[in-house]
């Protein structure tokens, strides 16, 4: 279940960002990148528990298999999937709440991937609950800022909204560490 959830979330993100598929801006390349990233990431997690033979003398097939496993472990597949999904999403016309849901799903995908690869239980995320809640609030604010009608025609008002959203996020980023700092004495 732990190893399956990143694959399910990743596939959901790809479908959510791709539908309906547009045919501009190298959309197929972005789709390919996203699918490859999610699939290879899921394969990496599935094969992570396989023991790698450590003997000195190995057959050619075993050596190729070991090389394949190493490549699978080294390449940052999830980063590629994230970039591909965001690329697919930006090809669509503005749809703020759709994008916000995608953002939440992407964060969930990354957290699930981390839990699967480290073998940890979801309880380890409990200390981050408040911060994740704040992040969800900012995500909603970003989507809300995108829905605010422009003050006037032209690129200036869009840029103004962008700067306002960015400043809000920056303020939250600066304040949050002091709000969430651990006050317990260290062992």
């Amino acid at each position: 279940m732990t190893r399956l959830s990143p694959a399910v979330l990743g596939a959901g993100c790809v479908v959510w960002a791709a539908a309906p598929l547009v045919h501009t801006g190298y959309s197929y390349l972005a789709l390919l990148l996203a699918i490859l990233g999610v699939a290879a990431g899921a394969l990496r997690l599935a094969l992570a528990a396989l023991p790698v033979p450590g003997d000195t003398y190995l057959t050619a097939a075993t050596q190729y298999w070991i090389r394949f496993l190493k490549i699978l472990q080294l390449v940052p597949w999830e980063e590629g999937a994230v970039v591909g999904v965001l690329w697919l999403e930006v090809l669509h016309p503005s749809r703020p709440w759709h994008t916000a849901v995608l953002g939440a799903a992407l964060i969930a995908y990354l957290l699930a991937t981390h839990l699967a690869e480290s073998g940890a239980s979801p309880r380890v995320l409990r200390p981050q609950a408040r911060v994740l809640g704040a992040g969800a609030g900012l995500l909603a604010l970003g989507a809300g800022a995108a829905m605010v009608p422009a003050t006037g025609p032209g690129a200036g008002s869009t840029l103004l909204r962008l700067v306002a959203a960015g400043l809000l996020i920056a303020a939250a980023v600066l304040v949050l560490p002091y709000v969430t700092s651990d006050t317990r004495p260290h062992a």
Partner: protein
């Protein structure tokens, strides 16, 4: 926390430096946030700034201010010596990491089996390892990852695990072969002469000084004179195990050398349990090492170690370069000793040495440990190639040669029994265990 039963209570601690770096999780969050911000700026779409926000907030909140530069690791093996396939517990504990999460991953060395679990979480964990094949084995390396509470930074260190001395697993051997004429030394084997044992030997006429409790009253009544029971003496014998390490053939793990070591270890244990004095001679290309026959359980481990280490640097065994079996000291090869040979009988020099020893009057028993044959090309449905026929003929010749070697030894009075290493050693030896081996000089 240490408890009285803590296996790591008195284990010396070693400090290791931690190498801190961003976790893969942090790098993924950074990618998401950067991609979101860049897209928001280029496409002028504020909702992508919102997508970047949770990842940015997590990264900002998880900035660690204090990280331990080093932690203390204690580790202990439940036993530094083990037999093949025997499980050994490896306890490890980290100290000085605070409330951070510790993950241990074991990377086993060659011929080491780490069982089902090769990774575990917690400050103190236990792994079960077992060596698959005899020898001095490195258990492997232990990778330790210390993660902060936000799981954005990871401290890595690698610990080289201690060495495990793995002895060849002795196979099952319950019965032992005894000589017909035993040396006059107190032991537990029933000798064919009267003595002070407990097994009935015969009846003779009473002589002054005999114990009254040994008077056989029914026999005395029948013969009209006092008769006493006599009992068989209990003696021990000298057993010398001769391991042939000149040639090795077969699959690693069940090769002739592996079988010779396992068989010799089993024989040493069986004879030592019968209170016999057991010694060992290891015959190699460039010399001979030996251990004089002694009693006791400690001798079993001495024998195994002396066989495992080709040059006895750290053992009590003696070594002679180029020595031949005929020139070994009397203590290594006591006259009248039973010699049990474990050999694939592939080296002609060794076979010749066996013949010489037999001609000098030693009682010998050879266990043939070769369980492999030269490979032959398989027969194909459309016939055999000329090469396959040649290989088949060569193998037949080789088998005939081996049979000739065994025949020549049998003719000299040296029994040769085959052993495949799978079945118990009792089966091939059963024929010779029922009646004592004759000593012919």
């Amino acid at each position: 926390v240490t408890t009285p039963q803590d296996p790591l209570l008195h284990v010396p601690a070693r400090a290791f430096e931690l190498h801190w770096r961003s976790s893969r999780h942090a790098r993924r969050l950074l990618t998401l946030s950067l991609a979101g911000v860049v897209i928001a700026l280029i496409a002028r779409r504020p909702e992508f700034a919102g997508v970047a926000a949770p990842a940015l907030v997590l990264l900002a909140a998880g900035r660690t201010r204090d990280r331990p530069a080093r932690i203390v690791v204690r580790m202990r093996l439940s036993s530094a010596q083990t037999f093949e396939g025997e499980a050994v517990a490896l306890d490890v504990r980290a100290e000085g990491h605070g409330a951070r999460h510790v993950r241990w991953t074991l990377y086993p060395g060659a011929e080491i089996n780490s069982g089902d679990v090769s990774a575990a979480d917690g400050a103190q964990v236990r792994f079960i390892v077992a060596a698959r094949r005899w020898g001095r084995r490195r258990i492997g390396t232990m990778s330790v990852v210390v993660r902060d509470r936000w799981r954005l930074a990871e401290g890595h260190l690698s610990v080289i695990l201690p060495v495990l001395d793995c002895y060849p697993g002795p196979v099952d051997q319950q019965i032992t072969v005894a000589l017909r004429r035993l040396p006059n030394r107190f032991g537990e084997r029933v000798a064919r002469i009267a003595g002070e044992g407990i097994e009935f030997f015969g009846v003779r006429q009473y002589l002054p000084g005999d114990r009254q409790r040994s008077i056989n009253w029914p026999a005395s009544t029948r013969r009209g004179r006092l008769q006493v029971n006599t009992y068989a003496g209990e003696h021990s014998q000298d057993v010398v195990l001769l391991a042939d390490a000149t040639s090795d053939a077969g699959e690693p793990g069940s090769s002739a050398h592996d079988l010779a070591l396992r068989g010799a270890a089993a024989a040493a244990r069986a004879y030592l349990e019968g209170r016999d004095r057991v010694g060992v001679i290891t015959y190699q290309w460039d010399g001979v090492s030996w251990l004089t026959p002694r009693l006791g359980r400690r001798q079993l481990y001495r024998i195994i170690v002396s066989m495992m280490i080709s040059r006895p640097l750290a053992t009590t065994a003696s070594w002679a370069r180029g020595a031949r079996l005929g020139r070994l000291p009397r203590a290594a090869l006591p006259p009248g000793a039973l010699i049990v040979v474990f050999s694939p009988l592939l080296d002609q020099r060794f076979v010749e040495s066996l013949r010489n020893m037999r001609e000098r009057g030693f009682t010998m028993l050879v266990v043939d440990v070769l369980n492999a044959e030269p490979p032959v090309q398989r027969r194909t449905p459309w016939g055999s190639s000329a090469r396959a026929n040649t290989e088949r003929m060569a193998r037949q010749l080789w088998q005939m040669e081996r049979e000739a070697v065994r025949f020549s030894l049998r003719e000299l009075g040296v029994p040769v029994v085959p052993w495949d290493g799978v079945q118990s050693l009792d089966l091939p030896l059963a024929r010779y265990a029922r009646r004592p081996l004759a000593v012919r000089r």
